[in-house]
């Protein structure tokens, strides 16, 4: 029994900490939910008819292959049928696209990038409203983060870039001051799964919703954004690394096609 409990615990730990396991589980669940949601929000009968018509025209091309007018006519009907089918799929897509987009944004915060490795240099970039503000920008670092090179000013891009390194695993805040105002940016150093925000933004509500996991910078601050170049995370499968989104794409599709058959839902 003890061995069994240990195995279960190890499996749970694997699920919690392995990006691959997370992607697999999320893909299966999302595949199922999306199929169900698609089923409820779509006109199943109309979609079934539209798909059947498409299949019929495909078969017509085969059945009447010696009759070019029939073949070309069927091809035109296939194009029109495809348009009709996409139109029918659009409404359920509207319902599906919102939760899935929000979910993927959240997952991407965990799986899109890896934390900064200890002692490895990384770049902190501050973007200001104008080049004049660059001279006023100062950086305040916690003891675990050190500057490994002097800052580089890029007046043409209103940017100032620091090369830093974290000496110890953990979550820290670096403080940037400009024009009498101070703003913090989270820095994550380590190797475990963590919620990472690559950029902190001022305003830009929609972009902030999709790209940043931190509160907005003050509206009157001369700082427009603070970003860190976290390394991209690659998930290894059979020696081939890929972004989690591609794996999710494939697995959720496969899961969706399986569940649609099991549930008898037309997609």
């Amino acid at each position: 029994m003890a061995g069994y409990a240990v195995a279960i615990a190890a499996f749970k730990l694997f699920l919690l900490t392995s990006p691959l396991a997370i992607v697999v589980v999320v893909s299966l669940v999302v595949g199922l939910l999306m199929v169900v949601l698609f089923g409820y929000t779509s006109d199943q009968k109309a979609i079934g008819i539209a798909k059947d018509q498409l299949k019929a025209h495909l078969l017509a091309v085969r059945l009447y292959r010696d009759q070019i007018p029939v073949v070309m006519g069927s091809y035109g009907k296939i194009l029109r049928g495809t348009g009709r089918y996409l139109k029918l799929a659009f409404k359920p897509l509207l319902y599906v696209i919102i939760p899935i987009t929000l979910l993927m944004v959240q997952i991407d915060r965990y799986l899109g990038a890896t934390p900064l490795p200890p002692n490895a240099p990384f770049l902190l970039t501050v973007h200001t409203t104008g080049s004049d503000a660059l001279n006023d920008v100062t950086l305040d670092l916690p003891p675990e983060i050190t500057m490994t090179a002097p800052p580089v000013h890029v007046p043409a891009g209103n940017e100032i870039v620091w090369r830093l390194a974290g000496s110890k695993e953990g979550k820290y805040e670096v403080k940037i001051a400009a024009a009498g105002q101070s703003a913090a940016k989270a820095v994550c150093v380590g190797s475990d799964l963590a919620r990472i925000s690559t950029v902190r933004l001022r305003g830009q509500f929609w972009e902030r919703m999709f790209s940043s996991a931190e509160p907005a910078l003050p509206e009157n601050s001369p700082i427009e954004s603070i970003s860190i170049n976290y390394p991209d995370r690659n998930i290894e499968i059979a020696g081939y690394g890929m972004n989690w989104i591609w794996l999710f794409f494939i697995l959720s599709m496969v899961a969706g096609f399986i569940f649609k058959e099991l549930l008898g839902i037309q997609i």
Binding site: G39, V70, V71, Y75, T101, S211, G256, G264, I267
Partner: protein
Amino acid sequence: MKEKGGAGNKHWLCSPFAGKRARASLFFLLLAVVLFPTLSHAYAGPGAGFAVLSSFWAIFVAFLYSFYALMTWPFRQLFRFLRRRNAYGKATFERAVILGFDGMDPDLADRFMNEGRLPNLAKLREKGTFSKLRTTFPAISPVAWSTFMTGVNPGKHNIYDFLARDTSNYLPFLSSAEIKGPKRHLKIGKYSIPFGKTEIKGMRKGTPFWHWLGNAGIFSSVIRVPVTFPPEKFQGVLLSGMCVPDLKGSQGTFCLCTTRASSDKFREGGVRVPIERKNGVCRSYVPGPENPLLEKAGELRVDFEIRPELGSRSARFVFGSEKFTMKVGEYSEWIPAEFKAGMGFTAHGICRFYLKELSPEVEVYVTPVNIDPGHPDLPISHPVTYSIYLAKLFGPYATLGLAEDTWALNEHVLDDDAFLAQAYGNHEDRERMLFDALDKTKQGLCACVFDTTDRVQHMFWRYLEEDHPAARDVPHSQHPPVIQELYERMDRLIGRVMGKIDEDTLLMVISDHGFKSFARCMNVNAWLHQNGYLTLKDGKTESGDWFEDVDWSRTRAYTMGLNGLYLNIKGREKQGIVDPVEADALKDELQKKLDGLVDPASGAVGITGVFITDAFYRGPYTENAPDLLVGYGAGYRASWDSVMGKVTGQVFEDNTKAWSGDHCIDPRLVPGVLFSSHKFIEDKPAIVDVAPTILKLFGLALPAHFDGKAWNLATKASAHQG
């Protein structure tokens, strides 16, 4: 999850988004997705993926097919050109369209034309041809249509009736096709797993004329011509018609699910299944085929539930994974019926429900379970994909050979209106198929047979007469003009077809036989018994079905089926007693005695001709033919009992069934019709001439074994231009 009927229910998931505010939020969120794309939402989830994949897959496959078709087209055209030079080079027409109206009667057509009810047929009569079309001996659909397609007499195509007899046991079998399961089985416990394919053997011999056309490179679309099951390979597409079985393997077994307790069995064609009612929910089942995996065969079933809706005359049905709502007096759509035998084996069928009654009793009629055309477990078309193509294009349709449930009307399970709704529903499906074939077949042959004319005349002839035994309870003034409306409907169909054809198309409208009243039944077995040709076992005065109580050792002649009369010949029948040398004399004797036989009740002649088949059957299959054919007079036909090999005490009796018109009589009395858009010069055209005529019009040489002769065309002035 699939939902049929009861449309318009909004799911609760939709409601949060119903308001304007929600729609505005939705719009802005979508706009954000579009305007601020990042990696994470470049892919919008499986929903979008499905849509994109499915639609682009269709386009991709279509593109591949089209590319292949276009690239190879010049070569195929060259090949076809080389093959067709002799065909189309000498062809009189680019296309021939043959509409077969099973059982259309020339006298009725003439009468309705003269009354101005059939303007399109009248137009054909005026500009082209209208003539009686001599039918086959006997005048039975499978026989006549087999002759139509092969151009030969029954002695060469081997079809003499719906049924043929097994000389080893005097039992009947279907004359057109034989279906045998796989020979080898692996036995595991209670299971017997079949190995190999189901063998379907076509019993109709001879070569349909569209095969000759195909050999010459001429394309054909053939829809629902009888006795084309199993479908044969040729250049063209074909959907099988009459003689396609249902999923049980029968020629149509309906099901009456009922809460009424009854031990009565239907005479033929149907079964009664109890409905169990508990807590307001009714449960029953639709019986299917035998389980092929069990050594001791058991019937497969699909259970269903009926939930009557309070305060209305409708009920919610749950049948397998299908859910639908029906009102009393309504048919459902075609519903898929999957009979699961276990181990992954599923038989695919379709059926329709008809809600007869909800209160106080619950009764539901279920059509015979047809082979699913979109997922055919047996081939019902050539190529197999043709039936699937039609199902995808138009939705599921009746595939059963005798799809109009005449037995259900005979047994009062369906009333007149319900039967007509079913028959015309099937008819409309076939019209759609015909017009699709016309669109797809601009050159070559397009042949389509409509059964509706036959079935409706069989079942509603009683209303054409003043004193038909089957309609004596309805005053003549209240007889609905069903047959007149049928002919008008067929005429409108012809009008629409004429609108689709041009000068280079020959349109022929033909029927395999005509129709007459069936008011009186005659049991020839009873007559044979009373006249000493058929003897019953000691102590018996009547015999059950299939000669149950016949003493074969003292029987010289018997009838089975609609017109066939057989001698019990020594060496041929298992218990034969008639010396072959004496057979001719016995035939002559029977002919003399039966020909002109008078019905004592009416004084009318019940049999107007008895034909010795040696005289007119020629070919390699004459040994399977009846020895004599009984030609009944107008108003008469073989009795229901006689057809099934039953011997009764009475020779003549009234026919009180709804099946009140017939054609299985003296073939000279029931010729078919021939209409054509172009005039033929022929005094006495016969159905056997159609095949040679078509081949000739396409410029092909006629095979030497043909029995028919090709008609001569007078001019090429088409009726539709008149």
